[in-house]
Amino acid sequence: MFEKIHLLGFGAGGWGALLLEAAGITLLLSALGFAVGAVFGGVAAAGKLSSSKVSRVIASTYGTVFRGVPDLLSIYLFYYGGSVALTSIARLFGATGFVGLPTLATGVVTIGFISGAYQSEVYRGAYLAVDKGQFDAAKALALTRIQMLRLVIVPQLLRHAIPGLGNVWQLVLKDSALISVIGLVELMRQAQIGAGSTREPFLFYLAAAALYYTIAAVTDLFFSRAEANASRGIVHR
């Protein structure tokens, strides 16, 4: 096996550049999915904290379903469900046959939807962890609701949210490997292609594992930095 290590190199017949590029797609997919998830998660957290019962029920159903159902099942829902919807729209315009969805966009939306369910719990917990006096103080200063959230609550909320968001990010990164089933050539899919065409599956999956591990470790450093940054001036007891 190790006599074949040149297959991972950057020379002729080496898969190094392709694997690195695919790792870039994994990173892009995860980052965009995480960002979309922040929007879904923020809205769902607001729904859970809302005084309207309907919002609360919708938001908590969303959270329960997408945290409880296998991510692979959700991916099939979005990919096939989206493709069927797109195909019927295309039929209206006279197209025939099956229309597949663009895989990167589908992956981003799917990961966004799944990670939003996890992020909503993080934001909700962080919101509740902000000291009540801060809300009163903001009101006493006659800040508008938007000003209060933007200047007082969200900066403090983020401090409580960052450790949880770091966990969700690690989850997202690993989930992104599942998007390979819909044919997006990210790291996992590229490793499969390499393994298939060189008949060296062990080498290629090991390389993929090493790249995932590296991405996870490096991005984890980023989250610890952000945590330290958001907690500056806080005395730890």
Partner: protein, 229 residues
Amino acid sequence: MIDPGFFLEIFPKLVAGLPLTLKLCGISVLLGFVLAVVLALAQQSENAFFVWPIRAFVSVFRGTPLLVQIFLIYYGLGQFRPNLQALGLWWLFREPFWCAIIALTLNTAAYSSEILRGAIRNVPRGLPEAASALGLSRLLTLRLVVLPLALRQALPAYGNEIILIVKGTSLASIITLTEVTGLAQELISQTYRAMEVFVAAGAIYLLINFIIVRALELLEIKLTPYRKR
């Protein structure tokens, strides 16, 4: 849009995959738990020679996707067929079922050993000290004092881990095992009714999760009789 007849048609088909899902989850949770206890206890030792490889194992299995782990074991180790045959282990690595079990077991052992390690560390120091003052051997202290307290404290976090494994069993469908998610995927690609199949298969998983959460809640109540509820 919602067609009850269609649900009645697909539901039994999906339930046919339930025994496999439960088997994958049950076996790997049991084996993984035993391994996790061993790993967590071994890390109590001060011998770096012992601790270091375990830390590396845990870190690697927590830091890489489960799908990569499954592929590495099923396709990757398949490459070493002659060696595995010589070792008499080929029957194990030939079967996708056992490869999925191995991957899920190692994965859950890595996560659970961290949960247990934290729980063991949180057992107040005075308790094992009191036990040794009573003349209990190290093994007895572990069995009668440290482990019961640690396991009870670890219960909520461990419940989440079991649910992650239930979800993880769905990846077995990618290596040809037709458990619930695999059957759902087949049904979706035959009928193109993704939403209905998702709802039916999702309901099965949510029901499993609900039963696990409820059972662990009951266990926790039983283990903490002193708490007023």
